[in-house]
Amino acid sequence: MALFDASPRWTVTNLTRHLRHLFEEDPDLQGIWVEGEISNLSRPASGHVYFTLKDAGASLRCVMWKTEAARLRLILQDGMAIEAHGSLGIYDVAGQYQLYADSIRPLGEGALFQEFLRLKALLEAEGLFEARRKRAIPASPRRIGIVTSRTGAALRDMLNTLRRRMPLAEVVLAPTPVQGEEAPLKIVEALRDLNRVVQPEVILLARGGGSIEDLWAFNDERVVRAVSESQAPVITGVGHETDFTLADFAADLRAPTPTAAAELATPVTALELWQGLVVVSRTLTESMEILIDQKRILLDGLKSGLRLSSPLRKVQTERQRVDDISRRGHAAQAHRLELAETRMIGLENRLAALSPLAVLKRGYAVVTKNKKVIASKHQVKDGDGLRVRVQDGEFSARVSGEEM
């Protein structure tokens, strides 16, 4: 080779910088997805993550800085098939090109997400997710249908919640697999069977947390349509708080978890029924007491009226015949009043025997303010004086202001 040829001359640094600029100015190498399998994964104390992405033909060094690595929602492992998003650059010191990754997702998730968006747009255009389609959840359903796996924690969570909140209810489980090939069809059948055979007032469609693939049955078009066609309103509780499926969009109500779905299905709890019963039972007794008081006042009035118009006075001024008639009339009226009074006393005794508030004996209390029964937290404010009636008497209490 000639000593004075015209070939370009570089320092290593300059050449490397030149290459880096070529990379950085090529839009096909910046902000890209690269799919491959993870190998040589290492996570030193710095917190940065280093690995190699490879496929059958090649390999690519990758680095993910600590701040991005902290946002990862999957645990990287050697052998895992992923898609890494980032930009290609050069690490000058090592003379090595590499991918500076800013996010990583499992391979296939991208395709799933595209399918999710396509189906969502389609069903949305059909009006399946419209607010006006959503039906109200009954306040106190007696019959609750559940569609979920027989063995999952989701079922146990829901049954425990329903048992605690509303043990008067009856639950009908239509067990079905909630993931895998056959899950969508089985879920559709379970929803149809429940509606046809049992006619529950509300249906819970639920599954515990899992990966996006695990939850995929709830994005199946058949399942979404079955949810929107269900006669009974459907509450979904699929996965965790952050998971949204198409079944959620089609449901009449979406709960963040199975437990929350069971809570939403029982807006009124047994405890609230107890409280309502105490209030109504008390009103029953009081209204009867008031009725009897009113009649007694009426009776007392009639009796004193009778004394004032005593026949003795009239004897002196009226003729004997008239007096006789009058006396008979008054005697008859006095007799009627006597009968009425006897009956009144009988009623009062019966009332006393039946009264008051058998429910209080169970440890419940009636709380009043200014003689008005308190049935809501909105009726009291900090510092209000209250009367608390329990089975053997009354005492005063004061509102401390701390809302539970």
């Binding site: 047994a270 029953l284 209204s287 008031i290």
Partner: protein, 78 residues
């Protein structure tokens, strides 16, 4: 309401018993009925109140399983 009154109290579910109890209370509060009739309504009300309390007291979540057309008791395995 007339129909409910002849239905034996032990056959009423919670909602039925409570709804009738509320109706009775409304009638008593209106003060429109004669005293004797009010008293029988009150006694019926007391029985309904007790029925409701009993139902709440003894309530136990019933869990059934549906397979096709078939409804069976569901066995919970902890």
């Amino acid at each position: 309401m007339a129909k409910n009154e002849i239905k034996p109290i032990e056959n009423l579910n919670y909602e039925e018993a409570f709804a009738e109890l509320e109706k009775i209370v409304a009638v008593l509060e209106s003060g429109e009925k004669p005293l004797e009739e009010s008293m029988s309504l009150f006694e019926r009300g007391q029985a309904l109140s007790k029925r409701c309390a009993d139902l709440l007291d003894k309530a136990e979540l019933k869990v059934k399983e549906l397979a096709g057309e078939e409804l069976t008791d569901f066995e919970e395995n902890e």
